[in-house]
Amino acid sequence: MELHVIADNFAFLILQGFFGFGSFAGGTLRLAAPAIVFGFILGIFIGLGRLARSRWISVPMTIYVEFFRGVPLVMVIFWFWFIIPVLLGKSLPEYSVALTAFVVFEAAYLGEIVRAGIQSVPRGQVEAATATGLTRAQAMRHVILPQAFRNMIPALVTQFIVLLKDTSLASIIGYVDLTKAAQIVNNREIRPFELYLFIAVVYWACSYGMSRYARALERRLNPQAA
């Protein structure tokens, strides 16, 4: 073990690779944080769409979800890597491609979380809201969604953990995240054991820490279950 490899390249690995400060437009967090936010916004529409009464909305949304859940993320990243230049007539930087791919892909999973959250609100709440004279849209906005969001929080944290780990796959199109940063350093230093173990520990710390947090949240929101 030659740990000085880690110490020498610590700033590059963490600042550039993990956070995204530096000469490359990279960073694990800089990809994961906007991806979960935009993915969730898209996911709300998909989750609501799957529950819509009209089949013209619910069937396409179901197909969207089942399609992206049946295809590997690697494949989806390659799709965007290829299709964006064809559609726009010019190529975009890795960051935009990766972000688009992650938002579209994660929205399928986040849509399912939104749907489950809405369905977890007791039926009586909907009936009570309707009885007070609210329209369907009003009941959704003022009564159901606020309660549903609360129930979704633990699942959202869990999904963010998944996303954070999945962003490592953006390195296959050359995006400089933590994994790619380790590869770059390794090409120079040839210390795979130390470097890959180090980034494993970094991912582990984030992921494990957040999963403990998700579990604690779940217990607080739902004391009788745990």
Binding site: F67, R69, G70, V71, P72, L73, V74, M75, F78, W79, F82, I83, V86, L87, G89, Y109, E112, A155, T158, Q159, I161, V162, K165, D166, S168, L169, S171, I172, T179, A182, Q183, N186, P192, F193, Y196, L197, I199, A200, Y203, W204, S207, Y208, S211
Partner: protein, 241 residues
């Protein structure tokens, strides 16, 4: 948009053969890794519920360490970091016999074993504690109680989440392309490189993955209908991808 479709590239030249070969490798590595994952998963999942503290800790350490690190990092770890630690003879043998395949197999199997473990633990914990107590009180040892009573029930309870995890394993096998395993995604990339027809290549790979996933899901729904225990559903299986 200026793109000319040419679907015939899929059946002329070598493309068809590459796709078939890729499909075969994907299925091969998925089935082998699935067996590793199931064995590790059942072992560690059961260990996490037994009344022996050191066993529980060991299993928890395995699960938490492996499932909280991206699969891609494990691929690199098993392929680049582990072989230099092996004796020279073993390492040379490995690099003569497709080291990337074995590394990807270890990465997939051990990573998904940790995830199967959580599914199996949830299944065991869904069984009322009285079942275990009743089994022990009839004179069975703890091992016998697990083998004859707890695990058979748990395995029937977890069919839906286990199917989900198995499909995740199949899809995740695509990550093996990063270390050069010639599986399905790798082959679609190869077709793209040789023919410059990315749309057709990616579409064919995507359709094959979708068909594989849908077929397995349909088959497992049949299995579930046959083996599910009426009135009991496993709770809290992790819905991660």
């Amino acid at each position: 948009m200026s793109y000319t479709f040419n679907w015939s590239i899929l059946w002329t030249g070598q493309s068809g053969g590459w796709l078939l070969q890729g499909l075969f490798t994907t299925i091969e590595i998925s089935i082998l890794a699935w067996w590793i994952a199931v064995v590790l998963g059942i072992g560690s999942g059961a260990m996490r519920t037994v009344p022996v503290v050191p066993l529980r800790w060991a299993a928890a350490a395995y699960v938490e360490f492996f499932r909280n690190v991206p699969l891609l990092v494990w691929m690199f770890f098993w392929y680049f970091a582990v072989p230099p630690l092996l004796p020279d003879a073993v390492r040379e043998w490995l690099f003569d016999h497709g080291a990337e395949f074995w590394a990807a197999l270890c990465a997939l199997g051990v990573y998904h074993g940790a995830r199967f473990s959580e599914v199996i633990r949830a299944g065991i914990q869904a069984i009322p504690k009285t079942q275990f107590e009743a089994a022990v009180s009839t004179g069975l040892t703890v091992t016998q109680a697990y083998r004859l009573i707890i695990l058979p029930i748990a395995l029937r309870l977890i069919i839906p989440p286990a199917t989900n995890e198995s499909l995740n394993l199949l899809k995740n096998s695509s990550v093996a392309l990063t270390i050069g395993v010639a599986e399905l995604t790798f082959q679609t990339r190869q077709i793209e490189t040789y023919t410059a027809k990315a749309f057709e290549a990616l579409a064919s790979g995507t359709v094959i993955y979708l068909l594989l996933c849908l077929t397995i899901a349909a088959l497992m729904a049949q299995v579930e209908r046959r083996y599910a225990i009426p009135g009991m559903i496993a709770q809290g299986a992790v819905g991660e991808n």
